[in-house]
């Protein structure tokens, strides 16, 4: 691994990585059962430098912003490298957002350049919101068919210059990326992450979960996500490891990739991990009685021998068939994006497959705490990583309070939002809005949320204010969306739901027509963003002088209602 303490920027470290590991394979890209691409670090360099030079020829310079909206693939990483090489700031956006949301964030970020895929561009270019994002001056589109109408964009594959680009150095405190943690509604939250944030996070994470040449990481989480950006790009590249991309995420092709490419690490969201558990459990249950008894015995033996620490070699012998199904080289599954239930973590650990469970939020880099497997504990989100400080503020009698974090991996603030930034920090500590306690062994245990938001099992952060637009002009006096657990606090990190609080007009009833109108509007939202039920409140919503709803006070009033009977399901 490169000694990252010697580097000032992500770009400088990546540049040296390409030279240091030039003969190693850095990328494999497969589409279904077809391998589309296999690149060494040298070949990656040869693809990226002509792009970096063309960006510079187009006037792209230090601190200029460029956005990537792409599925996980080699051109994502090649483009990101070129942006960093040219001294730019990367704005990675989630390809699953709608065109309207994309344009809103592109405008907010101030990106000059957009790099995207043709199928995404087809939708983006047709969206009316395009005209509002005048800051986007150049669009590069990958994989466009020969006869395609590019709607003003240029072909990524042809945007290459033979001349060598000039490396643009950046300082550790400069912004490297603007990462949107949420806020596609009224108030986009663009976390300004510095080069230092990434350099420090990489050192901390790889101290527990190391990469080296020969390691193969299967990249499934979207690369715009902090976890995949770190363990599916920056981490493996600075260690000479290889990243495997799949263009199709159908379960059968993902399963096949483990064995075909002998995967070492993979990151998954809890939903996928749980699904994997269900599938495995069903297969174990189908075993004939004798074999099942033998299998359960071997699991118990493995459990006994791995109580204090993982013993991969032993587990692979005892439970060979299970490990073979994962390719035989899997060292750990990294799980993130949302809270994972302990029994799922324990299930995999008992099979000799450690799950790197942790806790993080975009604002604090990739991870704040991670299970160090010494020993493995399924009931916690692990101990703070080296260099991370965690404290519990105003703990109740049971030790539970708000989690505060301080480290070199924490963002400098939200783009264009000084007030929101100030509200999010206290004396240099980031207020996470999550509730938890630290136990006798220094492990963090999470127990709920203080913020008005939910996180789905697919790792999506949903802020109520971001989805309210869909209910605009609803024929009621006023409405407001809340996370149910924000109103009625619950010591739980799973099964979170949104509710729509309604104040009807005088004499108005909650009719079938109104119900159907709400259902229809709700269905326009992506399925994971939908509200679960309606709560009626027969009083004016408290408002500020500028007529904004005072959400906290309204939540207190709603809290006086009985949760179960108050929520009318949709």
């Amino acid at each position: 691994m490169l000694d990252l303490s010697q580097y000032q920027s992500v770009g400088a470290a990546l540049k040296d990585a390409l030279a240091t590991f030039s003969g190693e394979t850095c990328l494999i890209e497969a589409d279904r059962d077809r391998e589309k691409e296999r690149l060494t670090y040298k070949e990656f360099h040869d693809r990226a430098h002509p792009l970096a030079r063309s960006l510079q020829d187009a006037g792209f310079t230090a601190a200029d912003r460029a956005s990537i909206i792409m599925t996980n693939q080699s051109k994502w990483l090649i483009s990101a490298y070129s942006i960093f090489f040219a001294g730019g700031v990367l704005v990675p956006l989630d390809y699953k957002l709608t065109p309207s949301e994309h344009w809103q964030l592109l405008k907010h970020s101030g990106a000059r350049i957009l790099i995207t895929e043709y199928p995404i561009w087809r939708q983006l270019s047709a969206a009316p919101e395009r005209s509002a994002a005048e800051n986007v001056k150049l669009v590069l589109v990958t994989e466009a068919p020969t006869s395609a109408d590019l709607a003003g964009a240029q072909r990524w594959e042809e945007f290459r210059s033979a001349a060598e680009p000039a490396f643009v150095p950046r300082e550790r405190k400069d912004v490297a990326c603007i990462v949107y943690s949420s806020g596609t509604g009224g108030r986009p939250k663009g976390c300004m992450m510095t080069h230092e944030n990434y350099l420090e996070q990489c050192v901390a994470l790889t101290s527990l979960y190391p990469f080296w040449p020969g390691v193969r990481y299967l990249s499934i989480l979207p690369t715009n996500h902090a976890i995949d950006f770190m363990v599916g790009f920056f981490g493996p590249f600075t260690c000479g490891a290889c990243v495997v991309h799949l263009r199709t995420l159908r379960p059968e092709f993902v399963r096949e990739a483990f064995t075909k490419y002998k995967i070492t690490y993979v990151s998954l969201v809890p939903l996928v991990l749980k699904n994997l558990q269900k599938g495995l459990q069903a297969r174990f249950d189908e075993l004939p009685t004798g074999k099942r008894k033998m299998f359960n015995f071997l699991v118990r033996v493995n459990k006994a021998f791995t109580k204090s620490k993982p013993r991969l070699g032993l587990s692979r012998i005892l439970l060979g068939q299970v490990h073979a199904a994962f390719g035989g080289e899997l060292r750990a599954i990294i799980v993130g994006g949302a809270f994972t239930e302990p029994q799922t973590l324990q299930f995999f650990y008992d099979l000799g497959i450690p799950v790197a469970n942790g806790y993080g939020l975009t604002e604090a880099g990739t991870a704040i705490t991670v299970n160090d497997l010494n020993p493995f504990r399924a009931d916690t989100v692990g101990k703070p990583l080296p260099g991370m400080e965690v404290k519990i503020v105003e703990p109740a009698a049971d030790g539970v309070g708000e989690v505060y974090v301080r480290s070199k991996t924490v963002m400098t603030g939200y783009l264009n939002e000084p007030e929101l930034t100030a509200e999010s920090f206290s004396d240099g500590w980031l207020k996470t809005g999550d509730l938890g306690r630290i136990d006798w062994a220094g492990h963090l245990l999470l127990s709920g949320r203080k913020r008005n938001m939910i996180v789905t099992e697919e790792g999506k952060n949903i802020y109520p204010e971001d989805i309210e637009a869909v209910f605009e002009s609803l024929p009621v006096k006023e409405f407001c969306v809340f996370a149910a657990n924000f109103i009625w606090p619950k010591r739980s990190m799973v099964g979170e739901q949104l509710i729509l609080a309604l104040h009807l007009e005088s004499g108005q009833s909650y009719s079938d027509a109104l119900h159907n109108d709400i259902v229809a509007r709700n269905n326009r939202l992506l399925n994971y963003k939908r509200v679960h039920g309606v709560v009626l409140l027969d009083e004016d919503f408290p408002r500020t002088a500028s007529l904004k709803i005072k959400r906290n006070i309204l939540a207190e009033r709603l809290a006086q209602l009985d949760r179960t009977s108050a929520i009318l399901p949709l």
Partner: protein, 80 residues
């Protein structure tokens, strides 16, 4: 060559079989996530089955954001 209505009907029949629901309960405009109570992974499994049935490949981006049978059938129809 199938028309869109036929394709939609076949999509609904396959979903009915795959998720073992009572025949005749699914409608073209139904939100399959909600009606079947499935998550995105289960929807991907259905897609694989549909691909085999219709003999096509549906790239992931084509079905991004699709949640009703009719729209899903339209995406399939465009590749037949």
């Amino acid at each position: 060559m199938r028309n869109l209505d036929q394709t939609t009907q076949e999509v609904i029949e396959l979903a009915t079989q795959h998720f073992k629901v009572t025949a005749g309960t699914l409608e073209p405009s139904d939100d399959f996530f909600k009606k079947l109570g499935i998550d995105s992974l289960q929807a991907l499994e259905l897609l694989s089955r549909l691909e085999n049935h219709f003999g096509i490949e549906l790239p992931d981006y084509e079905v991004q954001g699709v949640s009703d049978f009719r729209t899903l059938a339209e995406r399939i129809q465009s590749r037949l």
